[in-house]
Each structure stands twice: as C-alpha cells, then as structure tokens.
Symmetry: C2
Subunit: 221 residues, 2 copies
Amino acid sequence: MFTLAEENYLKTIYHLESLFGEGVSTNAIAEKLETKPSSVTDMVQKLADKKLLTYIKYKGTSLTDLGKKEATNIIRKHRLWEVFLLEKLQFQWHEVHEIAEQLEHIQSEELVDRLDAFLGYPTTDPHGDPIPDKNGYFKATDKKLLASMKVSEQGICVGVKDSDDEFLKYLDKKNIAIGSMITLLAKEDFDHSLHIKVDDHSFFITKAISENLFVKSHESE
Amino acid sequence: MFTLAEENYLKTIYHLESLFGEGVSTNAIAEKLETKPSSVTDMVQKLADKKLLTYIKYKGTSLTDLGKKEATNIIRKHRLWEVFLLEKLQFQWHEVHEIAEQLEHIQSEELVDRLDAFLGYPTTDPHGDPIPDKNGYFKATDKKLLASMKVSEQGICVGVKDSDDEFLKYLDKKNIAIGSMITLLAKEDFDHSLHIKVDDHSFFITKAISENLFVKSHESE
DNA sequence: TTATTATTTTAGATTTGTCTAAAAATATTT
DNA sequence: AAATATTTTTAGACAAATCTAAAATAATAA
C-alpha cells in the first residue's frame, strides 16, 4: 500500500503531533528522521497529494484521519512485534526496538491479527505504551513517573520515557522489567536520589533514572 | 548489508542454479523475477562487482561461495518464518509463502537464531525443503514423488513440488499436510489415478496431484 | 521598523532499480 | 554457409527518495 519511506514519515509525524500538537514543523521531522529539511518538504507534498496529511507552506503539517489511521496501524504492528520479541523470543528490553522498526513494515493484516491472538491480545508494549486495536483505538495508560511516587508507595513498572539504549541496558542489569514491583523506601532531598526495592533486592537510583521510568500505582490495580 | 532487490536476485539465481546447473541465463532470471532481461543484465553486473557471482557476457552467471552463503542465509530465514507461520500462528499451507517472502529480508542474526530455537531447530520447512543451518549447510531429504510409490506402501507427506496456490488450497481441503500418513491403496493403470488413504479417510487423486506431492517412505524412519 | 537570523522551499543533481528501443552476439534453420 | 530467429547487452530515459546550494519566507533583535 505505502512505501517504507512513506510509512516512516507517517509514524514520525504522528509521534511529533501527539507530543507537540498540530502543525508539525519541517525541521522537527527532518531531525527525527535524520534527513534534510528539503527532503521532508518533498515527501510532505507527496503525502498531502495522497490525502494523508494537510500541508500549508511554511506552516507545517497535520495528519488527516486517514493518515492517523495508517500511522496507528504501523504503531500497532511495531508494538505487537516488540511484545513478541520480548515474551516469546526472550530478547532484552533494549534489543527489541531496532528489529521492530523493520517488522512493523511487513504487509499482511492476517498476520497482525494472528500475532495479536498468539500474544493473547496485549494492551501495552514493553515500554508501557498502549497497543492500538484494529481500528486504531487505544486509551492512554494511567502511568506516572517513578520520581512522583511517595515514600513507602508501591508501583508496578509499566514502561520507560526515553528508550535510550544505555538506559535500557541499565534496567536489564538491575533486573527492572515490565511488571517489576517497585517499592519506594526513601527519598534523598539533597540530590533527589531514591532508595528503592525491586523484588527482593534494594538499591539506590539517581534522579535522572527516576524521571525516566513509568510506574502504575499498585493500589489502582 | 544488501538491498531487497539484491537479495531477491541472489535467492532466485541460487534456485535456478540448483535446478539447472551452473551458468544461469539472463532470461531465466528475468522470467522468475518477472522483470526485463535488460534489468537483469544491470543487476548481475552490479552483483559481479560485489564478488557475489561470476558473470561472462552472453554466457550466464554462477554464484560465488560468498553469493551462495548469502543466498542460503536468505533461504534459511524464509523457511524458518514459514515454520513459524504454520506452527505458531496456525496459517494454512498456501498462505505462508507470500508473507515469508517479506519476513526473509528482516536483518538480525540474533533474531534468526532465537526464532530457530523458539521453533525447536526444525530441519525442514512446511514444503518439505531442508532448512540450512547457520553455516548454510543442509542435507538433501530422501523424499520421492507420491506417484512413485508402490501399492500398499506407506509414506509420510514431506512437501510439494510446485507450490501453486490452488494446489495448496486443494491439499488444505483434503486435509493433507506435512506429516500426514499416506497409504497407497491402489493404482489405476488407465489414467494413473491413485486411490489413497490419508489418516482415516480414503479417496482418489489424479496423476497430476501424485506427481506434485513428495513423501518419505515410512520404513526409512 | 529595519536588519539580522533562522526556517522552509525551490531548483537542479544523484543513486537505485527499473524500463524501452535498438544494437550486438549467439543459436537455429534452411 | 547464409539467412533467420532468439537471446543478451547497451544506450538513454524515468520514478522514488535523497542531497546541495540558492532563493524565499518568517521570526527575532537592534
């Protein structure tokens, strides 16, 4: 249906739009896709011709409903494959994204449906992000940053904010994964580091780490 | 490492070479890939520059060891994905090839190794063809055509010769699959049709069908 | 408000993989 | 062996997606 390049543009514009609102700038897209602004202008005009987005010169672009539908479908595929890689093939957290970037472009609705069923219709991916259903519908999760927890509160790890490779490796090393039960033992006011317990093991994490990990309150479950 | 087009050429040339011997003709490649001979000439020269094959003008091409290694790796991936689709996602026989054509191009050695392990290191794919190991090594199966069986002999279905879509649908309908036990009840000399028993069900098949189904003698197992 | 800076677009070139049409080489007939 | 047919290659063109360099527009500062 769409080329690889087109799909990557749609996905990127979708993400930028949900982060910063309508009217995504040419430079923002170029930076995310590691390409030149002039290339973005070309492609955006092409996608506008195909009614996947609206584009006003010098004013940025916004996806149409059709474009959003395509984008969420690609995101659905990406996240389902991530679940597959992690749960079925025992990949580690930081390894799944790159491979899912390729798998998300495989064209077969039947395949996606069967994969979905095979995985037991998961609703979130290994990063805690929701997996859209066949119609592109999904509800935002009630996740919050580990940094916002109160002392003695318990939370279940549901994802990460920035999936930096080094960070994901750190999590793997510390045995923090989706579903890990995290208890906040103490807060250090001086540098905002946290003393936490994961499973049976307790240790300290820096402020930066705590602001990059999403948890779901254990009470709310 | 290689582009999609390059990989498809390598795979096609490998298949043609194993069928008809060294020195694959430009037209043969063009026909298989549904492209023009002039396009083949261009690509073949490019692949020769990359030392993946040897090419002599007007004389055809043959894969180098490097080219064969690449080709068998793609075939390995294709066949592993076919097993996955059939065994894990419950696809039918005739549906797997087209999707595997896409999946075979996913780049990740780690992924292939883990998939291999996840599937239990299968040695043949759903068409009865051997799956090369990591080093490209595989041994030819001792399969033979159903048409060559003797009356009252038993065989296990191991694959098909031409995987025509209609034919695979026919097999699905008749409940003939990899591993099916087939007993030859009788041969009709007049039209060479066969009376066979599959599991508990017996019926007639035409000569054409019997010459397109591979079995492995049950004694040899 | 004018000058300067940053962003975005246009124009033209490049690469990959393809095509058509014509030329060259090889194979087959007569 | 010459004529004909087939196969293969070359030459030149094209679409997709990208780039560089220059021009146009918008935003910011003096």
